[in-house]
């Protein structure tokens, strides 16, 4: 039942003050960096929000990961699908809980994440002396940049890539791609599950603007949408 629902309920996030605060906090954490800090006025409210957040997420008992691993997953979820104007991060979409649930039921997946997070923490420590969740944001993103660069150079080991073609599109500096290659399989799985958790959660569905799974007496297609598409297309409606 509720212990399986690892996301923040839509209702909670639709309360504007809470949503706005969460957004600002999340932006402070992910985009500008921790050094920029959080507005003290927000701080008090954030504290209360984080408390209630804890209460909600406390409903989920972590089944497989230890505390260090789970914190790494939470941070990864915030970085891979960060909070932005469209919605909160994948952490709020329940990604860490989703991954934990599947790992608790699937040895193969659990092994990918156990080894992957050990690799991630070691790689972060090699950079700045701290494990991934506690590392400076610049070290965290540098690691993810290296993973993406390695993926574009080598493929993720499971997906066949036109590597040459995609390498051209890389906007990330290729630093140490060979080292990062060892983390690719893990990264591929982590991103896949984080992205899926976010976009299947109520906050992700809202972000996309999916308005289906509904019920109508008549089916209508808005004129506005038709005109928008034909206005941008080489074809015309008869």
């Amino acid at each position: 039942m509720s212990s399986e629902r690892g996301f923040v309920s839509v209702k909670a996030l639709q309360a504007p003050s809470r949503r706005e605060v969460l957004r600002r906090v999340a932006l402070a954490v992910t985009a500008a960096g921790l050094a920029q800090g959080i507005d003290p006025a927000d701080g008090a409210q954030v504290h209360a929000e984080v408390e209630s957040e804890r209460t909600f997420r406390g409903e989920y008992d972590v089944k497989y990961f230890n505390a260090r691993e789970f914190r790494a997953l939470e941070r990864l979820a915030e970085l891979v699908v960060p909070a932005d104007e469209g919605g909160p991060s994948a952490r709020e979409g329940g990604a860490p809980e989703f991954i934990d649930l599947l790992a608790s039921q699937n040895r193969e997946l659990a092994d990918i994440f156990t080894g992957g997070i050990l690799w991630l923490d070691a790689a972060a420590a090699a950079r700045g002396g701290k494990q991934f969740a506690d590392a400076a944001e610049s070290d965290q993103t540098a690691l993810l940049d290296a993973l993406v660069a390695a993926e574009r150079a080598y493929g993720d080991g499971e997906t066949r890539w036109a590597t040459g073609e995609y390498a051209r599109f890389s906007v990330f500096g290729i630093r140490e791609p060979a080292e990062a290659r060892r983390g690719l399989r893990f990264f591929g799985w982590a991103r896949r599950l984080i992205v899926d958790a976010y976009y299947t959660s109520p906050v992700g569905i809202k972000d996309l603007g999916f308005v289906g799974n509904s019920s109508h007496t008549d089916y209508e297609v808005p004129r506005e949408a038709i005109e928008y598409a034909f206005g941008r297309s080489p074809v015309r409606e008869a």
């Binding site: 989703f98 997906t159 289906g212």
Partner: protein, 566 residues
């Protein structure tokens, strides 16, 4: 358990068997309907209106097994149906050939989840040999079957518009829903290229009939419909059949053989009661096989007796022969015109609201393949599920750019699928594997399959047409693989799940298994009511024709029973 006698034993509770049992039951015949799987309970079995986040695994199933290719066929949300492999019930393929066999062991069979495309065969479909000298004519014409198409459509409910296209006869239609934005773009591209897109013909009702509510446009037909606004043999045939009081459904019972009496007539069916792991018999005045083309042929070939050493009604040696699937090829693309499209509900009535019937039916002299195909379409703002943004995420890397791209690209993908006619050939058939039996001790089918140049060239025509359509709409075709390889350049045989043939109809007992009423030439109280009777496999999805043929056979059989002829 006491054996009980019935008028008719029907094997299989799908489109053919469901129609047969209902029509016979309505006419007062006592029917036993054997089904290899369980009864279906829509209230508990259907996942209508559920969200991925209603489940901890979000639709990826326990342990995320869908990610590892071990998930439910067609996804977690699809109604209980079946799969490509069933535990304990193998099938084999001859070396060097491949055939995928989808089986549903449940009341309603594959109609619980199917695409519901409902197209009438045309006169040219029934007389292909007369037109081009390839394949074989059916023993019936369009005029023979048209009244039963009318009956089936009026009862089932099929959408569409009257168009007067010779290759796609009009029917008794419910009003179709308005086309979606991406469908309008493709339709406009089709106008440029001479490919006509018209309202889709699907077994969905848009006005209330027979106590069934009109479609409410949630787009989830494949999950099973709690309001029975679409056709499934379970809800629309089997449940009403049971309500007649004349039809007894015997579930979880796997037919092994048709029992033959001293006079060479069918006496009943020998089956395995799965729960009891015991063999049982059920007897009747007539037997109707509707277990799906390959199960029906398997059952016939396994029904050996002194009268029929090569299998019941198989004096011609044609049982299992001329197995056909549909020619399939799909191509996807992105339409940049749809980026950041104002959001609206694209669920609609399930499948696409438009399709293109075969438009070059009088132009084959200029083509390098003899028969046609129709075009199906996909796209829109689908409900996000596991994997929906996998490719996009890899391309975008991570972070804010990933989210921006997801919003921008959501709903820009379109897919076009061709569904074409395969010509029956000598290399494509099934027989019984000499060594392998299933967990019920029943010998299993062995498949032999080969597409010819006819099918491969048709698939290349699909590829060029789909590329042209996507590009004319301003889109970019997504990469395609090796078009000379099965599974890339043409759908793997069997994978379209339109397998038909194996016990074809005809006027000559030497060259066919069944007569024009789908009655075995050699056994007058044995009938077939599934796709096994098909002489050809036009580009029209087979279910509606199975419904119509079964209805016609049921009325014929009811009359023969009344006259005492069977």
């Amino acid at each position: 358990m006491a054996e009980k006698d019935y008028d008719v034993i029907v094997v299989g509770a799908g489109a053919g068997g469901g129609t047969m049992a209902r029509v016979l039951g309505e006419r007062g015949a006592k029917v036993a309907l054997l089904e290899a799987g369980p009864m279906i309970d829509p209230r508990n079995d259907f996942k209508t209106h559920k969200w991925p986040h209603d489940y901890g695994h979000r639709g990826a199933e326990d342990g995320g097994r869908a990610y590892f290719g071990r998930g439910t066929a067609y996804g977690f949300f699809t109604t209980v149906s079946g799969g490509w492999q069933l535990e304990g019930e193998p099938y084999t393929s001859a070396p060097g050939t491949r055939f995928e066999w989808f089986r549903s062991r449940v009341v309603g069979g594959r109609t619980n989840h199917y695409g519901r495309m409902s197209f009438r065969f045309s006169e040219m479909d029934f007389k292909p040999y007369s037109r081009d000298g390839i394949g074989r004519d059916w023993p019936i014409s369009y005029e023979d079957i048209a009244p039963w198409y009318d009956r089936a459509e009026e009862y089932i409910g099929v959408t569409g518009t009257v168009e007067g296209i010779p290759s796609a006869p009009d029917g008794k239609f419910h009003d179709p829903p308005a086309p979606k934005v991406h469908e309008r773009l493709i339709r406009a591209a089709g106008r440029k290229l001479g490919v006509p897109f018209i309202a889709n013909r699907r077994a969905v009702i848009t006005r209330s009939i027979n106590g069934r509510a009109a479609c409410h446009y949630c787009g989830q037909c494949g999950r099973g419909c709690l309001t029975a606004s679409n056709y499934s043999a379970s809800q629309i045939d089997v449940f009403p059949a049971v309500e007649t009081g004349n039809v007894t459904v015997i579930t979880d019972s796997m037919a092994r053989a048709v029992e033959v009496g001293d006079g060479g007539l069918a006496r009943g069916v020998i089956y395995v009661d799965k729960a009891a792991r015991s063999e049982r018999r059920v007897r009747g005045r007539a037997v109707v096989l509707a277990a799906s083309a390959c199960e029906t042929a398997r059952l016939m070939l396994n029904s050996k007796s002194k009268h029929f050493p090569d299998g019941i009604a198989n004096g011609s040696g044609l049982v299992g022969r001329y197995l056909m699937d549909t020619v399939g090829f799909s191509l996807g693309g992105t339409l940049p015109a749809l980026e950041n499209l104002p959001r609206y509900d694209t669920d609609g009535f399930g499948g696409a609201h438009l399709y293109a019937p075969w438009w070059l039916w009088d132009g084959h002299s200029k083509l390098d393949f003899p028969r046609g195909y129709h075009i199906e379409m996909g796209g829109g703002f689908g409900m996000p599920g596991p994997g929906s943004f996998g490719a996009l995420a890899r391309e975008a890397g991570y972070g804010r750019e990933l989210k921006r791209r997801a919003r921008e690209a959501y709903g820009t993908l379109v897919g076009l699928s061709g569904r074409g006619e395969m010509i029956p050939n000598n290399q494509s058939y099934m027989d019984i594997d000499p060594e392998v039996v299933d967990r019920w001790g029943i010998p299993v089918p062995r498949f032999h399959f080969s597409f010819s140049d006819y099918e491969w060239k048709q698939a290349r025509h699909m590829e060029r047409t789909f590329r042209d359509l996507i590009e004319a709409a301003g889109g970019k075709v997504l990469g395609i693989g090796n078009t000379a390889r099965e599974g890339e350049g043409i759908a793997v045989p069997g994978s379209i799940i339109h397998e038909v043939g194996t016990a074809r109809m005809g006027d000559s007992p030497a060259a066919s298994v069944l007569n024009k009423y789908c009655q075995a030439h050699e056994v007058r109280n044995l009938f077939v009511a599934d796709g096994a009777s098909f002489v050809s496999n036009p580009d029209k999805n087979p279910t509606l024709t199975i419904n119509a043929l079964s209805w016609r056979t049921a009325e014929y059989l009811a009359e023969e029973l009344r006259k005492g002829n069977v």
